[in-house]
C-alpha cells in the first residue's frame, strides 16, 4: 500500500468516525422524543446525514480507484450539475444543437483534456473555444429573439457546472516539488475544508448569527461566515500533513477556499432567487440538487487551483 492510499483510507475512516458520531447523535435525539411526534428539523438532519454517508463513500471510493475513479465521479457531477442549470436557463428551439453539443461534446472533451493533463487546453477550451463556437451554432439557426440572454445563460451554465468543477480533478495534474503522486490528496483537502466550513458556517449562523450578509438573498450572516472561515482554517491546519503547504499555508489556503466558496454559494442563491426556485433539483435526498451541494466547491476550485499553481509549483 502506498502512503497516498493509506492516507486516503485514514481520511475515509476519520470521516466515517464523524458520520457515525453524527448518526448516533441523531438517533439518540430521536429516541428521546415522544412516540408519534415528528420533528421536521431532526428528520431533515437525518436525511442529510444519510446523504453525507453516500457522498463520503463515493468520494472515498473514487479517490481509492485513483485517477480514473476521480475523473468519472467529477464528470458525472458536472453532467448532473449542467442538467440542473440548463433546465432553468432561457433557451429556444434554435439552441437545441448547441445545448446538445454542450452536454455530449464540450463536457466529455473537457474531462478528456483534464485526464490528458493538457493544461494549456483545458484552461481555455470552455472560456474561449466553447464560448465562441456554441453561439455560432445557435446563430446559424437564425432566431434573434432573446439571443444574448440565451447565449449568456448557456455560457454561465458551462462555466460553473463544467469548467469550475473540472478544476477539482485537474488538481491531480499539478506537479509539486517533493509531493510526488500525492496530488490526489489535494482533492480530499479542498472538498473537506470547504464542506466542513459550510457546515460550521450554518451551525454558527444558526447559533450566533445576527447580521445578514445579503438580506433577501440568503440567511447567511457575517458572524456565521467569520466563524465558518475560522473553522475551515483550523481544519485546514489539522489536515496540513496531507498537503505540501505547511501548517500556516494549509490554514490560509483553507480559509481562502472556504471564504470564496461561501461567497459563491451566495451567487448560486441569487440565481435561484432570480428563477424563483428553492433547490436546483431533488436528486440528492435532503440536500436538493448537485449544484446545491457543490456550489461552494464550484467557486473555491479555480481559486484553490490557481493559488496552488502560483505558490507551490
Amino acid at each position: 500500500m502506498t502512503s497516498t492510499t493509506s492516507d486516503i483510507l485514514l481520511l475515509a475512516f476519520g470521516s466515517f468516525g464523524i458520520l457515525i458520531a453524527l448518526t448516533v447523535l441523531g438517533e439518540i435525539l430521536r429516541a428521546r422524543e415522544e412516540p408519534g411526534f415528528n420533528n421536521p428539523v431532526l428528520d431533515t438532519y437525518m436525511t442529510r446525514v444519510q446523504s453525507w454517508w453516500g457522498m463520503v463513500a463515493f468520494v472515498g471510493a473514487a479517490l481509492l480507484l485513483g485517477k480514473v475513479g476521480v475523473m468519472v465521479l467529477f464528470a458525472f457531477a458536472s453532467f448532473a450539475a449542467l442538467r440542473e442549470v440548463l433546465t432553468l436557463t432561457a433557451k429556444a428551439r434554435a439552441d437545441h444543437l448547441s445545448l446538445a453539443l454542450a452536454f455530449f461534446v464540450v463536457l466529455p472533451l473537457q474531462y478528456v483534456f483534464v485526464a490528458m493533463e493538457w493544461t494549456g487546453l483545458y484552461m481555455v477550451f470552455i472560456p474561449v473555444y466553447a464560448f465562441l463556437f456554441l453561439p455560432i451554432v445557435s446563430a446559424l439557426r437564425g432566431n434573434p429573439e432573446r439571443y444574448l440572454v440565451r447565449v449568456a445563460e448557456t455560457q454561465w451554465a458551462l462555466m460553473i457546472a463544467v469548467f469550475c468543477v473540472s478544476l477539482v480533478p485537474a488538481l491531480m495534474s499539478l506537479d509539486i516539488d517533493g509531493y510526488g503522486d500525492r496530488s490526489l490528496l489535494l482533492i480530499a483537502f479542498l472538498v473537506m475544508v470547504v464542506q466542513f466550513g459550510d457546515l460550521l458556517e450554518y451551525f454558527f449562523g444558526r447559533r450566533i448569527g445576527r447580521t445578514r450578509i445579503a438580506p433577501g438573498l440568503s440567511p447567511k450572516t457575517w458572524e456565521g461566515l467569520i466563524m465558518g472561515v475560522a473553522s475551515a482554517a483550523i481544519i485546514g491546519s489539522m489536515l496540513a500533513w496531507i498537503t505540501p503547504f505547511g501548517v500556516l499555508g494549509a490554514a490560509l489556503m483553507a480559509a481562502v477556499s472556504s471564504l470564496v466558496g461561501m461567497l459563491g454559494s451566495l451567487v448560486v442563491a441569487a440565481i435561484k432567487r432570480d428563477r424563483g426556485v428553492k433547490d436546483w433539483s431533488h436528486l440528492i435526498p435532503g440536500q436538493g440538487g448537485f449544484v446545491d451541494q457543490l456550489d461552494s466547491v464550484i467557486f473555491a476550485a479555480p481559486i484553490f487551483y490557481q493559488l496552488t499553481v502560483y505558490f507551490y509549483t
Binding site: 453532467f79 448532473a80 442538467r83 440542473e84 440548463l86 433546465t87 432553468l88 436557463t89 432561457a90 433557451k91 428551439r93 437545441h96 444543437l97 445545448l99 446538445a100 452536454f103 455530449f104 432570480d274 428563477r275 424563483g276 426556485v277 433539483s281 431533488h282 436528486l283
Partner: protein, 213 residues
Amino acid sequence: MKFLRQFAARIVGQSIRIFCRAITAVRADWKGIEPVPRQRVYFANHTSNADMPMIWSVLPPALRRTVRPVAAADYWLKNKLRAFVGPEVFNCVLIDRRPEVDDKPLDRIIEALDEGASLIIFPEGNRNMTDDPLLPFKAGLYNMGKARPDVDLVPTWVANLTEIMPKGEVIPLPLICTVTFGEPIHVKDGESKDDFLARASQALLDQRPEVRT
C-alpha cells in the same frame, strides 16, 4: 409462450423506466394527491410521444401495475414492435380513430374503469404543436367523468419535454423532466360540458411549475 411474453414485457417496461430516468432524471411532484393505489384518471398535457412513458415511469410499482394509458390504435398497431410495447408493456386501452370503424371509444374506456383500472389520458386529443400551453379539450374527459363520477380525475402536468425533444430534433437533451400531479377534480351536478372542460383545463394549467426566465 405466454409466460415468456409477459416476462419480456416486464423487462422492456423496466428498461423504458430506467431509460427515462437516465435521460431526463424524471421525477414526480405529488402536489395534490398521495402516491397510493386508488382508482384515478390521470389527464395530462400532450406535447411529445414521450409524455406517456414519463408519467408511467414515475408511478410507483403498485400504481403502475393497475394503470392503463388510453392511446391510438393506429399508432400502437403500426408494426410488430409497437404492437408488443403498446398493449403488452404499457397495457394500453387502444382506441380506433378510423372514421369508417364504428367503435365507441368511450365504451372501451368505461369498460376498463369498471374492471378497476386507472387510466392515463390526453384530453387534447392530439399532440400540441402550437405555442399555446394547451389545446381545447375534447369531450371524452367530461363523458367519462359523468359516467363514473366516483373516479378521481387528476390533472397531470408533464414539464420540459418540448425542450428535451422538440419535434424534428434527433438528439434528446438530458434536461430534468417533472411530472406534477394536482388535486383531483370531479364533474359537478348539473355542470355543463364546456364549463367542466374549462375548469379541467385550468386545473391542469395550474400544475405548471413556475420558472421565471
